[in-house]
Amino acid sequence: MNDTGPLLAIDGVTKAYPGVVANDNVSFTIHPGKIHALLGENGAGKSTLVKMIYGLVRPDSGAMLMHGAPFAPASPSAARTAGVAMVFQHFSLFDALDVAENISLGMEHPPPRRTLAERIREVSEAYGLPLDPTRRVGDLSAGERQRIEIVRCLLQDPKLLIMDEPTSVLTPQEVEILFRTLRQLAAEGTSILYISHKLEEIRTLCDGATILRLGRVVAECIPAERSAGDLAEMMVGQTLKAPEHAGGSAGEVVLSVTGLSLDPTHAFGTRLRDVSFQVRAGEVLGIGGVAGNGQDELLAALSGETLAPIGAITVNGRDIGTSGPTARREIGVLTAPEERLGHAAAPDMSLTENAMLTGYQRKGLAKNGFLDWRRARSFAEEIIKTYDVRTPGPGKAARALSGGNLQKFVIGREILQEPLVLAVNQPTWGVDASAAAAIRQALLDLAGRGAAVVVISQDLDELMEISDRFSALNEGRLSPSRPTHDLSVEDIGLMLGGAHDMEVAHVSG
């Protein structure tokens, strides 16, 4: 084996699914000890590609070479044996088990429990990822959970570590720590395949980048030599316009939440603690925070799915906390939860029926309880047209739409009802860049027309872009809000609670 030879070479790999070519003749190489970025929008084919490397999917044609030898893992366990490890974007951990139990479940041949706990301590300290093997996973933050996944990979001594969107759940401080760990691993000779659509991260971390668009490689570059704008254009294939604020001044306080404390409705939910904020007409309040810090609970409290004590939530001085979703919609308080399929929309129902789901009151789609399907259909058509939802028609089932298209439909459905208050959770999660820009613009336009808008998001760039004021949710507590324009990344990181339990973090070697 030659030191300068590639660790992994992907050569002309093609994978097609019915109706879509996920990867079309994709080639690139990763050298030992390098951090290589795979950059692309959602649906560009990044996931399919790494699934092939990890043995979850087989290519239709093309070859992969590991150290110059043909590499065609038939299963993830074959890939692991060959030295490939992967940290998924969505963790596969059991809340009710402890850290060591979770790690041993993911290993091919787990060592005895005591040895394993020792090894976990060793590895986690060596890489600056403190982890207590006896803690229960349900009690850990997202950053700590990710550490479990990383440590699980490191225990297998991988030659190639694949990280799928690892920073989407981390605070800026935690991102710094993760990057130090990754650089240390690279220095020790491990190759890292880093998947992301966050350009600045890739510019600071990665040695090389392959950019995918619609399943094809559109460019190879050294990210540090390119500007974020260049990378974005290569990724999207067009120039993106930053959303514009309508520039209206904030009016009277519309939505007011005072001392809202709520017990979690299920085990491992987050308790809301003394949450207070106000949103004025024409204003966008951004609420940041790492996933699992009370975002879902806060949105449920605003939508009426969870009821609040009297006086805790008022709109224009009128209590709404004690009324359910139906009564709140009547007043003009609308929401869009994070999970599109199964929460914001019923998967097996048509778009017309899903338009009816939240629209029947304000759009006059029902009279005396009898439903007017013709009007519901034209409302659905209006949403599809106004928000450029790509679908053959309103008769299609919600689950037949791609995530981004369904998100446009869900957000559009609420905005077109001209709410007084709109609260959205993760409005652009999994949505491609141009659609995300359209959704952000629509939210700003809505605020420009005088609505009070609350945007809960884990995407800090998004919040900086569209919100007038910023608050952070941390373990169910909401920080006081601060105007967005004079916030630095460090400020935000501290508001988010800094790095969880990271006081002892250190990097050795």
């Binding site: 097609a16 699914y17 019915p18 109706g19 070519v21 087989r58 239709d60 939508s303 009426g304 799915e305 359910g324 979703p325 139906t326 919609r329 929401t335 939860p337 999970e339 199964g342 929460h343 914001a344 929309a345 019923a346 998967p347 097996d348 129902m349 029926e353 009816m356 789901l357 939240t358 029947y360 029902a366 309880g369 009898f370 439903l371 399907w373 299609k396 089932a397 689950r399 037949a400």
Partner: protein
Amino acid sequence: MRLEKRPEPSRAWMVATPVLAVILTMIAGGVMFALLGKDPFVAIRTIFWDPLFNEQFAAYSRPQLLVKAAPLILIAIGLSLGFRAGVWNIGAEGQYIIGAICGAAVGLAFYPADLFIVFPLMVLAGALGGFLWAMIPGLLRVRFGTNEILVSLLLVYVAEQLVASMALGPLRNPEGGGFPGSRNLQQYSAASNGELIAGTGMHWGVVAAFISVIFAYILLNRHLTGFHIRLAGQSPRAARFGGVNPGRLVLFCMGVSGALAGLAGMFEVSGPAGQIGIDFNVGYGFTAIIVAFLGRLHPVGILLAGLLMALTYIGGELAQFMLGLPSASIQAFQGMLLFFLLAVDMLTNFRVRIGRGAKI
């Protein structure tokens, strides 16, 4: 060969699967009858054809079709609402019994007064009895989170004990010479649910069954409550988000299915059965579960499924009588119908692909 999930449920298969299930049942049932030493073609013909068109039997069995189908349809329509919403009332048999007891008790209380009001009051009492019996599992689920499947099912056995003790005790015919069983309501004209058109089997229960089909169709397709029922069954979180109160929906579904089952019991006791006896119930409440699923939980489907199921009952009896088939084999035949229906059901949501790896 492997299964692949369809992006959308197939409408064509949704209609075709019940037909396919009936055909498969005929084939498998035919094999079973052949193994029992009977000519499968004759057996299938006796079950499906002779009750309607055989010159010798049709005059008797044709009216029986409506008589047997009416309670099945009435109960299945109510159950289908709950099943669509994820509310599993398995105890319609019990609600049917209680409806019959309440209806009969009201009628007997007026005996022998010849008042117009007696029958309408019996209808109300029957519906109310079934409704209240179904409220027991309904309220327990809403209030304490008990499992309505178990509670409603176990209440069937309570109801069976109750009907037996009624037949021996309070409702026993004082002029019956000490035999168990109530007075025969068919002989008490103010309380009798007789044939509306002679020779057709058409009684008020049949009318109620047809009305319930129309009612359910409008509810599910045109009314907010029906929309919420479908929503809650398909996607409970989306339903909550849409403003559905889950507890209220459980009570609505349990209440309607209980009331319809109670009505079915009341029409039966005042009509075809005539009296409260120890073994009054014959399993309509359980068979209606099969009818509801055979009809795809769709009102029109249930109408057709109820008629089909009634046909297998009548045809099954005929086959026992004519060919000497054991009654267990008829029950197995009906069981096959549900089995095949559930098995081929997956074709609406999945498609079968031959060979590995999909290419475009």
